[in-house]
């Protein structure tokens, strides 16, 4: 018989009432020690990792990632083979293979609620247990518990935990060790990441690596999974039959956080700055060759190189030749900036963010590549800091990474130009009177006409295009 300890969501700030489960760091059957990180939660104040108060095997996860739960809600149960509540760190409980260790012990509303309590109840986050209002007002009768609940106690009964989630058990160890396909044998990753990828059914080759030596890190995997899950969730059960009322078939999503900020910024920009959009088709074959050579070069070992790098360099180069695109309109003045804080629009699990690379004009190609990598990685992890989104001077949006040819982007407020980078694919192209396959992309640009007139925007775009057609011009 193993004891089962239940950890309830504590108030990690002062007076917080709820938190969102961002990601579980353990799964069913994992052996955890005291202070091992169990879960990452996001409160109104911050993202926080919760360390385990107990040692033992993870017996149950009561809430799912993405759920917002009240303080005091049981979130995880940990079974221990050792009777003491505080097993010293480093003393492993006997390892039991598989998940059979988790006895289906009742967890709440159970006949023996005391069983769930640790030796000493937590100070906070223990919900109704520690809450004085749980105490029953004596109503003359000495009869103990099952008397009709008084108004006081009825009002404060613990709500049943929202959902009882049984995460999929980890596949048995026997599951096809030889199944690793030859294709992902070339992707660098540590064994636990490989295992996690296999468990999640993710091909490692699909994940963008950000590790120091170009390896796929656990964070890369998780953020990939997060995005994938968000995309795929419910695709199959999306349409609802007409039998249900329309009200039932409408989903209402609260506008908050990044979504609200994005909406406000876009409305402000679209309705205050007269946008002019222009497009140019470019033969980017030489850019593709250049990128290929960079990838192969020793100097760029372990650094992710993409055509976006060349475009970034091209935009910086072209802005120097057409300075008015790197400016701000204030109404009384046009502020031309002699520095480039290059914004990169990034789709993140939390919404659109536009962090920028400060003083990008001073960076070498390699430094720029590193800056792009770390900016993207941070944005995907949701760890972009406010200062990194301030003071941008010109923005690139890489819609091509999603397979889109071009678009008319909306200018980031405070700036006067934005460049959309379309997908690069092989297309028939006429060269010296012959039709041959070339790597073609479309550049789209939107400009604030209050600052950037048609001829200037055209010259700027032509300059950017010129670099993509012939990156060697950068040596100029």
């Amino acid at each position: 018989m193993s004891d089962l300890f239940t950890f309830k969501l504590p108030d990690v700030g002062e007076g917080l009432t709820e938190a969102e489960i961002v990601s579980w760091k353990v799964k069913l059957g994992d052996l955890v020690a005291v202070n091992d990180v169990l879960v990452e939660i996001e409160t109104a104040k911050s993202i926080v990792e919760l360390p385990s108060p107990y040692a033992g095997l993870v017996a149950q996860l009561h809430v799912a990632e993405g759920d917002t739960v009240l303080v005091g809600t049981p979130i995880i149960s940990i079974g221990s083979e050792t009777p003491a509540a505080a097993v010293p760190t480093g003393t492993p409980a006997p390892v039991v293979t598989g998940t059979s260790a988790a006895e289906p012990a009742p967890l709440y509303g159970s006949p023996a609620p005391e069983q769930e309590e640790p030796a000493a109840g937590p100070l906070v986050g223990s919900g109704p247990k520690a809450d004085p209002v749980r105490r029953r007002v004596r109503l003359g009768s000495a009869a103990p518990v099952p008397s009709p609940p008084s108004a006081v106690s009825a009002g404060v009964r613990p709500k049943a935990p929202a959902a009882h989630i049984q995460p999929p058990a980890a596949p048995a160890a026997a599951a096809t060790p030889a199944a690793a396909s030859a294709s992902d044998a070339r992707v660098l990753a540590k064994p636990p990441v490989r295992k996690a990828a296999k468990d999640l059914g993710i091909n490692l080759a699909d994940v963008s690596p950000t590790g120091r030596s170009g390896e796929v890190t656990k964070k890369d995997l998780l953020s990939y999974q997060e995005q994938r899950a968000a995309e795929q969730a419910g695709a199959g059960s999306f349409w609802q039959p007409a039998a249900r009322t329309d009200e039932d078939r409408i989903e209402r999503i609260k506008v908050k956080g990044v979504r609200r900020a994005t909406a406000n910024a876009m409305v402000q920009s679209a309705f205050s700055a007269p946008h002019v959009s222009i497009f140019v088709d470019v033969d980017a074959s030489r850019t593709m060759e250049f990128v290929k050579r960079l990838k192969a070069s020793r100097d760029f070992e372990g650094i992710r190189v993409s055509p976006l790098l060349i475009l970034a360099k091209a935009v910086i180069w072209a802005a120097a030749r057409n300075p008015s695109v790197n400016a701000t309109w204030t109404g009384d003045e046009i502020i031309v900036k002699h520095f480039m804080n290059l914004g990169i629009a990034a789709a993140t699990p939390r919404g659109l963010m536009v962090p920028n690379i400060k003083d990008a004009q001073d960076l070498s190609l390699k430094e720029l590549a590193i800056a792009l990598n770390s900016l993207a990685a941070k944005a995907r992890e949701g760890k972009t800091q406010p200062a990194e989104m301030q003071g941008g001077s010109l923005t690139i949006t890489n819609i091509g990474s999603l397979g889109i040819d071009t678009g008319t982007p909306i200018i980031n407020p405070g700036e006067v130009a934005i460049v959309a980078f379309g997908t690069i694919k092989q297309k028939p192209w006429v060269l010296d009177g012959e039709v041959i396959p070339r790597w073609i992309t479309t550049l789209g640009g939107s400009f604030d006409h209050r600052v950037v007139d048609g001829d200037l925007s055209a010259r700027f775009m032509a300059d950017v295009a010129a670099i993509l057609e012939e990156p060697a011009l950068l040596l100029d």
Partner: protein, 409 residues
Amino acid sequence: MGAAQLPTTEFEGMEPDDRAEAAAEATAGLPAGDMVQLLDERGVLHRHAEYSAFIDALQPDQLRRFYSDMAAVRRFDQEATALQRQGELALWVPLTGQEGAQIGVGTATEPQDYLFPTYREHGVALTRGVDLAQLLRLFRGISNGGWNPKDTNFHLYTLVLAVQTLHAVGYAMGIQRDRAADPALPPAATVAFFGDGASSEGDVHEAMVFAASYQAPTVFFCQNNHWAISVPFEVQSKIPLVNRADGYGMPGIRVDGNDVLGVYAVSQWALEHARSGEGPVLIEAFTYRLGAHTTADDPTKYRLAVEEDKWRAKDPLVRLEKFLRAQNLADDDFFAQVRADGDELAAYVRKATLAMTLPDIRSAFANVYAQAHPLVTEELEWFERYEARFAAGDSAGTTASDRTEGGAA
């Protein structure tokens, strides 16, 4: 973008007004003017005309003790942070990064000195022999204090910013009078702890004026950890804090707060200066809070990781370890032992915290006045009638024991 349209935490701090702060942030970490440093970041010990003598007098055991104390309090800090995250403490105030400043000054004090901490002086508490687990009673919300200050001359934590500087000066003026009445008493000083944020409070000004006017034996020990919650130091003061000492007419010393030996030496000098009747001294220990202000805030919202990394490179433990190894004063066994001791301390603190019981609410009534008071007696009677309305076994007192006995599941 205006702040009004950006209600989310992700975008906090984007107001144009913050530009001044951002500019100041860029220079944070660059010490201005002269700063005493004996042990540099590479672990090399330098000579100083005035202060090296204090280090020369140290035995190898004492040098190792600096390290083991800093490591112990850092491990304690981690455990307390974990306990807060596990819901066992209402709040925790991490000190990581400031071990050098705290262990340095604490070690320099004598038993008869009296120390007035803020709420972050866990390292100083360790050097005074306070049971670290007792520090957590306050943060668990079961005590207004947690330890008896008379046992260690380490005063209770003060949550009201800067008020303890006045207490320290008042106590020091008391020492002056005690010694005038009984010259056989050993010379003693007080230490007033405060931070860069509290330096903006009026209390600090008043305390310094009184200390200087009365030549009170007080050492004002300011740990400039660069962040008053989210406000960077550069917003607190246009000049280095230590320069303010001139205005009050007392010596001011700026010391590398991550250099435990430097802090120890200047503190020795300052305490001797104060004890010998020469008057107060201001020490500005230039250091950095590597963690959050408390467990209730998130530093990633107001400062850049780059800045933290820059300060991590100045870690007080790392440089002393380099020094001890280079001088053959400590080996792998020593450092392994320090780690083991730290884990043992952490286990003890965890166990002690989980075993803490709720106090009897009646103690709150008992300590309002020294003697019985009719109004308090009346209120206690009302409270006891109120308590009696609840079912037996559920009263406040037994709820406390429930926690320790009832759940031994």
